[in-house]
Assembly symmetry: C2
Homo-oligomer: 476 residues x 2
């Protein structure tokens, strides 16, 4: 069942994942109030079975769908979520093989992650029992979140499918990313938590997402890679056309040790990894937040070059600081060409404003129609790749001299949409600390219109050169 092609690529075939129609939770725990069973039951769009040798009743779950063994289930079972104690996993695996289950998640931990010889041996034995017939996510993993079919290991996971794939060893990282996606406005095609990666590993899952028609952007959190997999990784990266963004865990001395305890990964030297990512045009970031924000930027505007930016602020001082940060990260805030500056000057009529780049609107911001005209002029200029706009929340909540707030908000929305019209990134900062409740609906609309909204310039400015470099390298 491993997949081979002309280059002798050693990756597993996972194309069946897009056809999963039925599932079982093996080992629903009464002590945990049937946590994983209930979560899957609430969201999965196909058939869910509960497998427990002793439970004959589970409150709120159909009695006729509870079986003592997966072998007793009359229909097919494509996927199983296994949460039995470690010593029972081998037996359960035997039955899954017999039943023809295609994919299992093994949530159970204390395999190679325990750091003991016993744990390692158990993991090897598990692999042997699976006979390459049943593919495994885990052990010590949360498996697969697949919103299109409602496959979700936790409650309140988002239900709208998108085109961002995510691969992580850590289930906790997945939880944070999945819940965060709702607020951020990104949507996942599939999320994999592969834990110890005994069977399916980073390389297999990356190969799957690269070839998955439901996935356009790929995010990864990896702590390490198994020995002997690097050639396969290189082969699939060589043929990849999708943007891949990676957060590498275990880069520092203590981080390497912690990663070893966490998922038994050998995370290796940070410089080797950095060079590797650079060579294969993989975008590397430093935090989970940066991983998600990079995805958001690309989801809103595609990949882009943002080497030459315009800055627009209401506070001249804040504009100066933005320029400093932007140039610190190697991007430019170039002066506008004279013709552009002259056009802008015609629209500026209040004292305290500045028509060059960075643009300082001062109180003229509240003459919002002129703001829209000026942003249009700026984004029409061929020498400008994009615009960063500072919009503190209190100027929206308590705008002076505005009679008709709803027209004011609508015009701001039109301003913010100009990035999409000019096909250039327009990025908004509304400081987290200035987001009053009264502008919640406005900010929500900004998000829904696919305008990226940040709360701190340092949250996204370091990401722009990464995206720009990716754009330049991938355009070659």
């Amino acid at each position: 069942m491993t997949h081979s092609n002309s280059s002798n690529l050693n990756v597993k075939d996972l194309s069946f994942i897009n056809d999963i129609k039925s599932m079982a939770v093996i080992g629903p725990s009464e002590k945990r109030n049937f946590f994983f069973l209930r979560n899957h039951q609430d969201s999965f769009k196909g058939k869910v079975y509960a497998i427990h040798p002793r439970s004959e009743e589970i409150p709120g779950f159909p009695k006729e769908d509870i079986y003592a063994s997966i072998l007793d289930v009359p229909g097919e079972v494509d996927f199983a979520f296994i949460a039995v104690p470690p010593k029972l996993v081998l037996h359960v695996m035997n039955e899954c093989v017999k039943k023809g289950v295609k994919l299992v998640t093994i949530f159970t931990s204390e395999f190679s992650d325990a750091g003991t010889e016993e744990g390692k041996a158990l993991e090897q034995e598990l692999l042997k029992r699976a006979q390459n017939e049943v593919r495994i996510l885990g052990p010590n993993g949360l498996g697969l979140f697949y919103p299109k079919i409602g496959l979700a290991w936790r409650q309140h996971f988002p239900t709208t499918p998108g085109s961002i794939g995510f691969i992580a060893q850590s289930g906790g990282i997945c939880n944070i990313a999945i819940y965060s996606s709702i607020e951020l406005g990104i949507e996942f095609s599939k999320v994999f938590s592969f834990g110890n990666g005994a069977d399916l590993d980073f390389v297999d899952l990356l190969y799957f997402l690269i070839n998955d028609s439901e996935t356009d952007i790929i995010l990864c959190y990896i702590e390490g890679i198994k020995q002997g997999r690097i050639n396969d990784l290189i082969a699939i990266l060589n043929n990849n056309k999708k943007p891949i963004i990676v957060l590498k865990g275990g880069k520092s001395e203590t981080g390497i040790k912690a990663a070893k305890t966490h998922t038994a990964s050998v995370s290796g030297d940070r410089v080797i990894w950095q060079t590797f990512f650079k060579q294969y045009n993989v975008i590397e970031v430093d935090s989970l937040e940066q991983l998600l924000h990079t995805a958001r930027l690309i989801a809103c505007y595609g990949i882009f070059d943002a080497k030459n930016l315009a800055v627009l602020s209401i506070s001249g001082g804040y504009g100066v600081v933005l320029v400093d940060i932007i140039e610190k990260y190697g991007l430019k805030v170039p002066p506008f060409p004279l013709t552009t500056q002259n056009e802008i000057n015609k629209k500026l009529f209040m004292p305290g404003t500045s028509s060059n780049n960075p643009l300082d609107f001062a109180a003229q911001f509240f003459a919002i129609d002129s703001v829209k005209e000026i942003i249009d002029i700026v984004l029409s200029d061929k020498s400008i790749d994009g615009l960063i706009l500072d919009l503190p929340g209190f100027y929206l909540s308590f705008p002076p001299r505005i009679q008709d707030l709803s027209t004011f908000y609508n015009t701001i929305s039109e301003c913010l949409n100009l990035g999409h019209i000019h096909k250039k990134p327009l990025i908004v900062i509304t400081q987290y600390l200035t987001r009053l409740n009264s502008i919640h609906d406005f900010l929500l609309k900004v998000k829904q219109r696919n305008v990226p909204l940040f709360g701190d310039p340092l949250e996204f400015i370091p990401l722009l050169p990464k995206i720009s470099n990716y754009f330049i390298k991938s355009s070659k």
Copy 2:
């Protein structure tokens, strides 16, 4: 009226500021719906007069407090906010001198900030007319926010006085900082927006705050310093015992030009400034957000050394990433001494946990009493300077297996208070993207108990070595 001491320090005496009892708004603008008059009227605890040569009635403002000239006001006027057109400013200044006004804010712009010879000359003439009798904040400034007496140029400014002073040229930067302080939980003693700094400049105001008994921490946003003031700055820094945190605007090539347009400042070479700040143990940061967050950390715990940190997470992967970030910024996450680790091990009973540093609680986090015991053990360890705790919002909103949510929340609060009990910084991350409405009240309480709460590790981890270095240098 300039202040001299043994070292021939050339700074102006501003001690009268703490005794301001009455004020006037000169030039309340009907077109702007009397914006600055109304704002001051709403909040100032003393007497407010309106000065306008033609207005005889201002809706909602006492008719008997409107005068054509400040000279007509019967009582004393300590402070005046001037917002008349540029050509009237000289006349108004003459009258303020006659009246014995001690301090004025000149909001009017188009002086040296206009970049013209005419503007520069007007500013010089203004200074001459003030005769060192009236001290000036501005022109092109918003002046003084002084919550203790309700002196506030904008509506909805916070009303609780604190002990953080802030000096900025930019009024917009002040607005963002002041509104942000409410959400962040820091409180200001005084905020100065000094605009072009024609009279009172950064050095004068810094000297005042260093000697102000109402101020313990000093924040600054500066774009430049006037020629000939550097020796005075050095003299006052040499005698300073308060933590000073600076955001320097105009560090990049374009930023320098923008600062010149903004407040006619010559901002100079970034390396010279960096060296200077380092030499005089001034903490330098890169963004307004970092300026405020540094103040928050110091306001919560005083200055501290955080070279050796413990990390506690619910997701092992997130813990690994935290360690990488912490060590990237030159701090350590050292292994716990064996005795401490043994003590922790006695309290850990669930699989998937890790008792070393970084601590991985996994699902045992919901056995919250054990978390409290373990934090107590960790902070009792002499080799640990502080703790960073990751607390994603969804684990608080949808905690599994928790019957009594209010007891659960209370115990978490007790956990978070252990930093104060052990007099070591305990810092919480609850990702912005995971802050559901349902935990708003809980997060508010965390803030009110002076526990610093961040939404992104990169928001504060780069600040910890800065505070630690300040601590070490100032302890010498």
